[in-house]
Amino acid sequence: MPVYRLIEEFSSDAYKVFEYVDSIYDRIKRVEDRVKAFITIVPKEEVYSYLETLLKRGYNSGSYPKLFGVMIGVKDNISTKGIRTTCGSKMLENYIPPYDATVIEKLKSVGMVIHGKTNMDEFAMGSTTETSAFYPTRNPWNLDRVPGGSSGGSGAALAAGEASIALGSDTGGSIRNPAAYTMVYGLRPTYGLVSRYGLIAYASSMDQIGPMARNTTDLALLLTIISGHDQRDSTSLPLHSIDYLKALDELLYKEPRLRIGILKELFEGSDDGVRKVTYSCIDKICSYHECIEVSIPYTKEAVAAYYIIAMAEASSNLARFDGIRYGLKVPVEGRNWVDVYTEVRTKGFGYEVKKRIALGTYVLSMGYRDMYYIRALRFRRMLKEKLDAMFSKVDVMASPTMPIPPPRLGEFFEDPLKIYLADVSTVIASLTGYPAINIPAGWNGLPIGLQLISRPLSEPILLYISAQLEERTKLRDLIAEV
């Protein structure tokens, strides 16, 4: 059931929440063994007692919080007080944060229930959820396929019906990629729209928390809750909160005609099947809006620049994991700190993480930083200028979210470069900090997603087109059989 329906239902009878909780836990019981969407599942009794507290408080005050009882899956790199937060890594296997991320405080303030922490690529480094130190997550639509990543657990939990809505995080495409591969809606907000406080950093200048949902309305609903200025995040934009549902309704009422740029290279560079499905999807609204072909002629450079910057920042952000204050513990008796640090980091990090730390260290080192890091930053500035120029002609730019359908499990390890290059569409929004959305586009045996990028703070526009497409494709509230 969509979240907006749940809200109506619980507002007429709050006690229906327990039936709903039971149904989600039943579903988890039936499918989780095969899907593995979660790293941690909160015991049902705890959810029950939390809801009872909320009910009591609601009974006393005469009103219940707006999203009372809605069960949300939260990516395991978002700090949850008292709930283990592993980042998909051995390093943090037993780490229980003593504080809540800002977004978690917001979820709790509207009565939402965090019933599980979803699986992810280790420290969000990956696009298949296979680098998770615990186990890979499988795509509920085809268990031989990956669900995408790094927020693969969140996408899979939605597609498998194990959560009503989910939070992901997107650095180079980590929301949009799994959303595309699991047939759900996923939004990467404008950089700074959602507080990063409590999000365990991968690449700080690109990390953004964002909503994932089975329909556009729910997506707008969750974005409304999590967005807004936060004094604890210096990169948070100083803006008043916006009601995205209202903004969406207004746009749907006015139905403005927009100009949609069709990103030529990104369609041409995609698999035949992907191209066909995404073309025919966008075509459904091209008679109403105006679609024109546009071009970004340096897509490969964008991928390179993205990886250089992300790895450089990651090598810095992940330095703090040394096993002293939290995280993996190793024997320290009679050893010096260098030995201890070395063992902690050797055992605690997986191969992909170590690779990115090593490369990130390299590109920031004296003698190489100008060649790699500084050049990547220059490219990033240039790309932003290019995009700004294009946004003077079009309102949004469309492309396939992923140029290939969901890979088979193991493919990533056979040909990592191919999988890196599949980030070609998503990294553009990441490098520039502009908002982008994945909209389920259709099937080619497997889920295929369409991506739209827009100007900073144009989330309402993205939601508007998403809603229009959703109306035409009817690809909403889908749950896989598993």
Partner: protein
């Protein structure tokens, strides 16, 4: 052999109440280990730094007071190195290089050396966070294990770096005295707090390698460590050796420097702008607002003291560099006008006793009136300079009431000139022969003065006695004509 000394000073902004990037209370001294901490200064995953605006304002005030050029933006960078006292394994600091900038550059401080003014240039000032503190159980060499206390982690620091403009340990000390005075006038740091003012010194003999001496924890030790290092380096050079570029550790117990590690290449700290901290613009408005809050600084005050009280540069400087002392001086000067005598007594006996009694200037309260009273008694000849020196510690400690004390010791109230004149007239009557002699020979007056002294048990002021006696003799001479 020309000596070149440059200093790197770390100053904690102890006047601030919270840390540089989190709301944790920053007056951590005396707290149990790891109690002045929060997820941010412990570097917990997911936490983010938010700049303490007051720290920026203080840094700008210091930069202005040290005559620096200010940057138009504040850019924080990450300096990477693994060390257990560094929770994130990088320090948020600033870097002066292409693409980056320190908050301030190219300043200078004036110092007075042997009556001459010298300029010490300030290369740059950075704002940064202090790391935590490692405790070696049983000493750094014997310790089986060490413990980390993060209370200090994230405390706001200024790093002030000079050019190698000082040529002797004394100059280094004089510079540091001046710097501390400036910082205390700005009221940004209480340098009396342990570890709030830390100095590393770069020292070299011209044309030889540069040695960095770390871990110098007091100004007295700066002079000692530098003196030791100069002797050591000169001896090596005299014996035909060379000075290796290295970092040495000052062992304050043994009074020697010991090698820490050879510096063969510059460590690669992989500086890059902290993506969690967007650059902060420093507006002219902000600067002007801060400048308007800067109080009178030592250089201005030295000039004013010279003009207003007619003191020389040396006396004015000594007074002004001790803010408490010069404030006290100016209080006294409101009710006492022999400024030179006042200054002299304050910068010598008064200051010496305060140091000797290890009194905390901020806590004890000697009244200007007490010191002025002593000086007035001195001026009137009731007390000799010797007595003033003896009474000084008792007055400072507030142990005695001067009037009662003088009474009890039987000091004659001979500031009453009439009383003194009577005693002198008696002596004149009793010694007609001596008077005859004195009328002929001015030197013979001393006999009469001696008689007066006898009568007063030495408590009469010799100068006054002489003045009065001369007047009396003059009258006698007139009558004889």
């Amino acid at each position: 052999m020309e000596v070149l000394i440059g200093l790197e000073i770390h100053v904690q902004l102890t006047a601030l109440t919270s840390k540089l990037f989190c709301p944790t209370y920053s007056s951590y001294r005396g707290g149990s280990p790891n109690t002045y901490v929060c997820p941010i200064c412990l570097g917990l995953p997911g936490t983010l730094p938010v700049v303490n605006r007051r720290a920026i304002e203080y840094a700008i005030a210091v930069a202005k007071a040290l005559n620096c050029e200010l940057s138009d933006r504040i850019i924080f960078v990450r300096k990477h190195y693994f060390y257990p006292d560094l929770p994130k394994n990088y320090q948020i600091t600033q870097y002066d290089g292409p693409g980056f900038t320190s908050i301030a550059r190219n300043g200078h401080v004036k110092i007075l050396i042997n009556g001459k003014t010298k300029i010490v240039r300030i290369r740059r000032i950075n704002i940064e966070e202090d790391p935590g503190k490692i405790h070696y159980i049983g000493g750094i060499e014997e310790a089986q294990y060490s413990l980390v206390d993060y209370n200090r982690s994230g405390v706001p620091l200024l790093e002030i770096v000079t050019e190698p403009d000082m040529s002797s340990p004394k100059e280094a000390r004089v510079f540091l005295d001046k710097l501390i005075a400036i910082l205390e006038y700005l009221d940004v740091v209480d340098t009396a707090l342990e570890g709030s003012f830390r100095v590393d010194a770069n020292i070299s003999i011209r044309d030889y390698g540069r040695v960095e001496v770390k871990n110098i924890n007091s100004i007295k030790d700066v002079e000692k460590a530098l003196t030791y290092e100069i002797v050591r380096q000169k001896r090596i050079i005299e014996q035909g050796g060379t000075i290796a570029r290295e970092t040495r550790h000052w062992d304050d117990k043994k009074g020697i420097t010991v090698p820490l590690r050879a510096k063969e290449f510059e460590e690669d700290y992989r500086y890059f702008p902290d993506p969690d901290l967007p650059p902060i613009k420093i507006s002219t408005e902000m600067i002007n607002k801060i400048i308007s809050t800067i109080p009178e600084l030592p250089d201005q005050r030295i000039e004013r003291i010279m003009v207003q009280y007619g003191l020389d540069e040396y006396r004015s400087t000594v007074l002004v560099l001790n803010k408490w002392l010069v404030d006290f001086f100016e209080e006294c000067a409101k009710i006492y006008s022999n400024y030179k005598r006042l200054a002299d007594i304050l910068i010598t006996d008064f200051l010496r006793w305060i140091k000797e009694l290890s009194l905390d200037l901020k806590k004890f309260s000697v009244k200007p009136q007490s010191i002025v009273k002593l000086l007035e008694l001195l001026d009137k000849g009731i007390l000799s300079i010797k007595m003033v020196k003896e009474l000084m510690p008792h007055v400072i400690k507030g142990e005695i009431n001067i009037d009662e004390y003088i009474e009890s010791k039987g000091y004659i109230r001979i500031y009453d000139e009439q009383h003194l004149e009577q005693i002198i007239l008696e002596a004149v009557k009793e010694n007609p022969k001596a008077v005859e002699d004195a009328l002929k020979n001015p030197k013979a007056i001393n006999f009469l003065i001696g008689e007066v002294m006898k009568k007063t048990s030495g408590k009469a002021d010799p100068q006054k006695t002489r003045d009065i006696l001369l007047k009396i003799l003059e009258k006698i001479r007139d009558m004889k004509r």
